[in-house]
Symmetry: C2
Subunit: 339 residues, 2 copies
């Protein structure tokens, strides 16, 4: 425990991110000051929005600076504590960034510093019970506002957030149609996640597939993809429909922004609402979501997949898996086991 391995942001992205966007370095392990704790990172969370943090433009969080450690959600273990709320050995969820060790005080970082509930494994904390599950919960219920009997369309439905949103919609009595890439993901959606229909966008003609899956159109669209998926979806919008805009992964690696949907006027004729949200606004209500999510995971009503890569060297390549659709469910990477 003398070296702190780090992946720094070396170059801002121009198109698809790649290895040259990051630079490996080693620094001394930091020392916690008064009221601080030293955390050893164990698991990193990989999230599509990380690509946005790499770009130098105003957004909901400041961009990661060039030469700074790449920002990432994490679960780690307290190895030294100078704060009475934290004990050595505690597992904590925080924004540990791509490095072995981080020094933090409670309240620091966009997601704070929280001890894991007893018995919750890191893989569950970084998926259904973490930011992605909470995002799905509030995005679907507070923004999408589904009503039992609604048809709910979800894009990126086999992904970490989409899969939870889709299953919550099913639990709430909705007919759920999920869009994912490839037969394996689609089989998981219908067989394990018990969605009503899974659409494989790689099989072509997404517009026709949505039309066939939603003969009475859709009432709620939980969108993680944007771009041409949004346009295809808007062709099948029902009266008074709601779109919960969670993200737009299809465009994150574009050099030139792609054109938007050419049928936004369907929002007018159908009195539709399209609304973006950021989970940071809901973190003060996280307990409400986690309590319900724990119950649904425990009862088996919510199924989830975690895709755990390993090895510090593989961190940059693992981020890229999100944008090529290689991840099966929530993408994580483990660099160490808890002691």
């Amino acid at each position: 425990m003398t070296v702190n391995r780090q992946w720094l942001l070396a170059k801002r992205p121009d198109g698809m991110i790649g290895p040259d966007n990051f630079k490996y370095t080693e620094t001394p392990v930091p020392t916690p000051g008064d009221q601080e704790v030293l955390i050893r990172n164990l698991y990193f969370s990989f999230d599509p929005t990380q690509r946005n943090w790499m770009v130098d433009r105003p957004s909901y969080l400041p961009p990661v600076g060039l030469g700074e450690v790449m920002r990432a959600g994490s679960v780690g273990q307290v190895v030294e504590s100078r704060h009475s709320d934290f004990n050595v050995g505690d597992l904590v969820q925080t924004t540990g960034c791509w490095q072995d060790y981080v020094v933090l005080a409670p309240g620091e970082g966009p997601m704070g510093l929280n001890v894991l509930p007893p018995g919750v494994p890191p893989e569950l904390m970084l998926s259904v019970l973490g930011i992605t599950g909470i995002t799905a919960y509030f995005g679907l219920l507070d923004v999408g506002k589904p009503i039992a009997g609604d048809t709910v369309l979800v894009s990126g439905a086999a992904g970490a957030t989409g899969s939870v949103a889709a299953q919550i919609a099913r639990i709430k009595g909705c007919r759920v149609v999920g869009i994912a890439g490839g037969p394996e993901k689609c089989a998981w959606l219908t067989d394990s996640a018990k969605l009503d229909v899974a659409i494989d966008y790689k099989a072509g003609d997404l517009d026709a597939q949505i039309g066939a899956a939603c003969p009475d159109k859709w009432n709620v669209f939980f969108d993680n993809v944007g771009g041409s998926t949004m346009q295809a979806a808007l062709n099948h919008i029902s009266l008074n429909a709601r779109i919960a805009m969670c993200g737009g992964i299809s465009g994150y690696n574009d050099i030139e922004p792609q054109p938007g949907p050419n049928n936004l006027m369907n929002l007018v004729t159908n009195r539709g609402r399209m609304e973006g949200f950021i989970i940071l606004d809901y973190l003060h209500r996280a307990a409400e979501a986690v309590q319900e999510l724990i119950g649904w995971v425990g009862s088996g009503e919510i199924q989830y997949q975690v895709d755990v890569q390993e090895g510090f060297d593989n961190i940059p390549a693992t981020l890229q898996r999100l944008y090529t659709g290689q991840n099966k469910g929530k993408q994580l990477l483990k660099i160490a086991d808890p002691e």
Copy 2:
């Protein structure tokens, strides 16, 4: 009073509408049945959405059929009544369509059949106190939800609906920026309608002009235009902003739909809401709007312009004025004076 002149929908539009979309004909004056009234049309209302009614696709009203009289809002005068609520000589607002005479029963037609309040001239009833004013009222207040101190951006701000929305925003204590085409319309916006800033989109670089006019970005966007105007506006959206989508006149005459805004993701990062509405959903609350609008017109707080063309032959060409931006405020056409 033997001939009923009519303009029929002869051909569905393909690109910009023109004279060949309509066909002139003459039929006998119809006879009212029991509980019906015979109305002589005096004024026609011209509204951008009429182009949408000419297209054979599902929308908020059924399309006008080929060979049917073109649908239009109107003010007329009762010339024969077989209904106890209507007297000969009454001025009525309804959907009289492009013809001299129409037979209607109360409740027929998308806008019903309503006697004008005493003393309200037809030109005011078909502008600020009619569908366009009511659209502005509910679209701005119920969908846009401006708060005093907000910056409100309005496109099509010199138009019938936009000009009322912009002035209501001003009355509600907002800073108002209007977008219009040409120096004459812009001068009217600042000099008569008392907007804070008028942007002439024909002067170029709309994006930079919006940025300069909204240094703290905008909180509410009342949009009548869509397309590239929406894209430019979305570059200057503030946190928790609202877009009231009233229409998208820029695209109504496109043969191929134009691409949508390439920056819809700004709705996510800013937690923005984009919502379409149709005034038919608010007609049951029309009295609430009309009462306030009458007061504001009476006090001079709302200024308005009506552009009254004349002559039955000029009806099709007058509709086209909307899409070329020739109209100065609310576009009307008069075919007869009340008796």
